[in-house]
């Protein structure tokens, strides 16, 4: 017999799940959320130059994007990374799950360590790159650009593990630059000098704790701090006060983006298209095609995409390669087409700038193999520089160079120097 379905709506119900859901309705009035640091950032936002970072309004710049860049390289720059997607992955099988999902061997990632990794779909195409924090033997935090909850949950079937999205609950700050260590020490985070690159540890803060890792996206000495959202403002204030004499400055993304390019780091959906967002079938990339081949650990057992990646390597089906370029002159080659012998189109520049640290014109480009792979001579970029409503078309020689474009000893020095 057919089950009877009540078709009438209930009056506003007392059910707590439903009332919590109803209480969240009003989000439609605020399309861009503020982060837990918003009151502080708003107070400093003299340019009012915002962009949309995953549904949050984040600053392109706060007062001067050039000077903000120099804060990264000569002082200490504070950048709000709260909008970054964060997942907590916890349980006896957390390591096994992450070994199954990501490219690197998670068994080699000790508690208290972080590594940069990436993960692929079954075709071996990169879904995203991100950082994996091992907070304890059974607890991890995965930080990424895009969102992956269905992928993680579906992958977790059969593993004794919980996966929870905690983007809103956890606030994050990047403190980057030569004086960043001194700022943390002066702020009273005792023992922070013991952190080597990719180490993490918990430190007491405001009746709770803050997780500090010696990581970052600038290629400089720097740290990332994660704290529960309710302790965000007190953490901000603690750093700003301690950093006052060390030149601490809040910065926006434009400055950070320059630093990351000098460091040769790539950004998902800027330097490559993530598999879940690629509408055109030829756009997704394998790790070997975007410079992430070094992560692939074929010895660790099965992981998502392994078979496809292996097959592509064996059958030489890898069609692209991501390279660093050094371009003559000083005109940035942003989104320029790359040519072989000035005539054959072989690729595209995805990010470019004149680097103040390297004193060179640098770029990240994706090329069609064998160009950039075995053929690296006679490469050119065509730069369309718009100058007062005229394109100055420049054909400049490009040289394939290793990334990072700059290597700063202070990033890895132990103990970190007291600037």
């Amino acid at each position: 017999m057919a089950r009877q379905i009540s078709k009438k709506p209930a009056s506003k119900t007392a059910n707590t799940v439903v009332s919590a859901r109803i209480a969240a309705q009003s989000h439609f009035r605020t399309l861009r959320l503020g982060t837990p640091f918003q009151p502080r950032i708003d107070a400093l936002a003299r340019t009012q130059d915002w962009y949309n970072w995953a549904g949050y309004h984040a600053p392109h710049s706060l007062w001067d994007e050039e000077l903000e860049y120099f804060a990264i390289r000569s002082q200490a720059a504070l950048f709000d990374i709260s909008p970054m997607t964060k997942y907590r992955i916890e349980g006896p099988d957390a390591e096994a799950l992450l070994n199954r999902v990501t490219l690197r061997d998670v068994a080699k990632l000790r508690p208290g360590r972080v590594h940069y990794t990436a993960w692929c779909d079954d075709e071996g195409f990169v879904l995203d790159d991100g950082t994996l924090f091992r907070l304890s033997p059974t607890r991890f935090r995965l930080c990424s650009q895009e969102r992956h909850l269905p992928w993680l949950l579906d992958s977790a079937i059969g593993f004794d593990v919980t996966v929870e999205e905690e983007t809103e609950a956890v606030a994050g700050l990047a403190l980057q630059g030569p004086t960043s260590f001194a700022v943390l020490r002066d702020a009273g985070f005792a023992g922070v000098e013991k952190l080597k690159v990719f180490d993490l540890a918990d430190f007491p803060h405001d009746g709770g704790s803050v997780t500090i890792s010696r990581t970052g996206f600038t290629g400089d000495l720097g740290y990332e701090l994660f704290v529960s959202a309710d302790k965000a403002l007190s953490l901000w204030d603690r750093l700003m006060i301690a950093g006052e004499l060390r030149g601490i400055r809040a910065i926006g993304y434009t400055a950070l983006n320059r630093a990351r390019l000098e460091a040769g780091l790539i950004v998902a959906n800027a330097d490559f298209t993530t598999a879940e967002h690629a509408i055109r079938a030829d756009r997704p990339r394998m790790p070997d095609e975007i410079g992430l081949g070094f992560m692939i650990d074929l010895k660790k057992g099965h992981f998502n995409g392994r078979r496809a990646i292996l097959e592509a390597r064996v059958k030489r089906k890898l069609r692209h390669v991501l390279v660093g370029l050094e371009i003559e002159g000083n005109i940035p080659a942003e989104h320029a087409i790359v040519y072989y012998k000035k005539s054959r189109e072989v690729g595209l520049v995805s990010a470019a700038m004149w680097s103040p640290m390297a004193k060179r014109n640098i770029a990240i480009a994706s090329l069609e193999r064998p160009f950039g792979d075995t053929i690296v001579e006679d490469l050119w970029v065509e730069i369309y520089a718009m100058r007062e409503l005229q394109y100055q078309k420049l054909m400049k020689r490009a040289k394939v160079v290793a990334r990072p474009f700059i290597k700063l000893d202070r990033r890895t020095a132990n103990p970190p120097a007291d600037f």
Binding site: A2, I5, S6, K7, K8, P9, A10, S11, K12, T13, N15, V18, R21, I22, A24, Q25, S26, H27, F28, R29, L31, R32, N52, A54, G55, E123, E146, R147, H148, L149, P150, L153, E165, E276, H277, A278, I279, A281
Partner: protein
């Protein structure tokens, strides 16, 4: 004795699009329309003082921008106002809204399921990929796979190349998409009932299938291929109701020298020596022409307007068996004030979008069960809009016009014809559902137009009141629409063409069938089609 170059039977949007293109090619074209107004299923009539109704179709998205441009419809008054989104009301006193902003959309879904909220990107990617495959086919005549003519071979090759251009994974998905049910398709992405119901509705609108019937995934795709002035996937209200589309078409047609005769019902097509020679109007008047184009559906055209003896048996049998089943009705309501929905915040944009009350796929399927049993749904599925929230021209100030598309309504009730009492019972099922979510709703009603399949067939001429002039199932698409061998707008009778939604690419206020038919007719006449824009590139 006047002999027109072409007579178009029926002044619906496809008939008018066809007429416009033929007239602009230099033909002397007459449109004959049985009603005293043009528009077919895209009309706006004032049935209560000061209230313009969108009597049948009620929202606009699919209409091809290339046609708007060619026929200068903006110059002749067409303006489409995009709206924000909509909502499904849930029985627990909440709702699930669709917002245009990507992040607001995700947050809204996350209220119900964080997982489903993050599954949307993959869903959107896959649906977009399928749309990009289909979209370029809309504005092309489907190839005849049995023909060796260079053009058919070329089109087949195009189709084959497009298909071959897909990855193995996409090819599999395409075949699944064209054949599977919308319910099963959504199960691959989402786990929450109301979220699935929210998407499933696009898979059942206008079709005599339930969300669990194979083939409904494609119907969803059909509804996703539109845009409003370049805003892809958006839906909007034609300012002045959907009649504004055909009003602009009629004005464009007349401006280029075309002639429209309203109140002129065609009794049958005059056929002599296997060729169409004109039409005989209901009063007996004969009007002559060199070719006849029927905007009526394939059944009405070949089973009512053409004598059986003029048509081959196999063709007739296939036309009789063409699936064109009545499945929906319409309740159009004039309201003396804006209805309130306590579940919705007063400033919610949902008031300006489409609203629904069916919060699970199972309820949709059960509504379909009633249809199968020959009854209208006791708990119907409604697609409800209040266009006057964005278009002040359709009602007096402060008052509103509400359009309710209702599913399911069978072509016959328990095997017999609809009666007035049935019609009232059908209307009551709709009003009762709205009133459950909107207290005091009944008191706001000023006037109501209730259209069951009986009224739609009688007034608009759509067989069984089927809004697509035939189901959009895979067996009735591309070179099989309407019937194999006659998918290129031609018929067994020389000089008799069809240009309605029964033909490729199907229903909706799209205009593509009318345009494609015009292109084929002009090719037969060896006339230029240089006034017809090719389909926009999909890159």
């Amino acid at each position: 004795m006047k002999v027109w170059d072409a007579i178009i039977i029926g002044g619906g949007h496809n008939g008018l699009v066809n007429a416009c293109y033929l007239q602009r090619a230099g033909l002397d074209v007459l449109v004959v329309e049985k009603n005293d107004w043009v528009g077919g299923a895209a009309t706006s009539r004032e049935l209560a003082p000061g209230f313009l109704y969108s009597n049948c179709s009620y929202v606009c998205s699919l209409f091809r921008p290339e046609i708007m441009r060619d026929l200068e419809l903006p110059r002749f008054g067409l303006q489409v106002i995009a709206y924000e989104g909509g909502a499904v009301f849930t029985r627990d006193g909440d709702y699930l809204a669709n917002y245009r902003d990507h992040d607001a959309h995700r947050r809204e879904f996350a209220r119900f399921s964080k997982r489903d909220a993050e599954a949307y990107d993959r869903y959107a990617r896959d649906v977009t990929r399928q749309c990009r495959f289909i979209q370029p086919l809309l504005m092309r005549t489907a190839p005849d796979p049995t023909s060796l003519r260079p053009r058919d071979l070329g089109e087949l090759l195009y189709l084959g190349k497009k298909f071959a251009g897909l990855s193995a994974e996409e090819m599999a998905l395409t075949l699944r998409f064209w054949t599977m049910s919308i319910s099963e398709f959504l199960d691959e992405y989402f786990e929450t009932d109301v979220i699935k119901a929210n998407f499933a509705l696009s898979g059942i609108i206008g079709t005599a299938l339930g969300p669990m019937s194979p083939g409904t995934a494609y119907v969803l795709l059909h509804h996703y291929m539109g845009e409003v002035d370049g805003s892809v996937g958006a839906w909007g209200y034609a300012r002045g109701g959907m009649g504004a589309v055909t009003k602009a078409l009629a004005a464009s047609f007349k401006a280029s020298g075309g002639t429209i005769r309203t109140g002129a019902e065609v009794d049958h097509v005059l056929v002599g020596r296997g060729k169409a020679r004109g039409v005989v109007l209901a009063g007996g008047e004969e009007v002559y022409c060199k070719l006849v184009v029927s905007n009526a559906d394939v059944k009405r055209t070949f089973l009512k307007l053409v004598e059986e003896k003029e048509l081959p048996d196999i063709f007739l049998r296939r036309v009789r068996n063409f699936k064109i089943r009545g499945s929906s009705g319409k309740v159009n309501i004039a309201l003396d004030s804006l209805p309130e929905f306590p579940a919705l915040p007063k400033d919610s944009p949902v008031y300006r979008g489409d609203m629904h009350f069916t919060d699970s796929v199972e309820r949709m399927e059960r509504a379909y069960d009633d249809w199968k049993a020959g009854r209208w749904s006791a708990d119907p599925f409604l697609d409800m809009v209040i266009p006057t929230t964005l278009d002040p021209t359709m009602a007096p100030p402060g008052k509103h016009f509400m359009s309710c598309f209702v599913q399911y309504a069978p072509p016959k009730v328990n095997g017999r014809e609809w009666t007035d009492a049935d019609r009232d019972g059908f209307a009551e099922s709709v009003i009762a559902q709205i009133a459950d979510y909107s207290p005091g709703f009944r008191d706001r009603i000023v006037h109501m137009e209730v259209r069951t399949p009986r009224e739609i067939e009688a007034e608009v001429g759509l067989t069984e009141g089927n809004i697509f002039q035939g189901e959009l199932t895979f067996d009735q698409l591309l070179f099989n629409r309407p019937v194999p061998g006659y998918a290129q707008y031609r018929s067994p009778v020389g000089g008799l063409y069809i240009c309605g939604s029964s033909t490729h690419p199907g229903g909706g206020v799209m205009g593509a069938p009318g345009r494609n038919a015009a292109a084929d007719i002009l090719r037969d006449l060896a006339k230029s089609t240089s006034h017809m824009s090719p389909a926009h590139d999909v890159i």
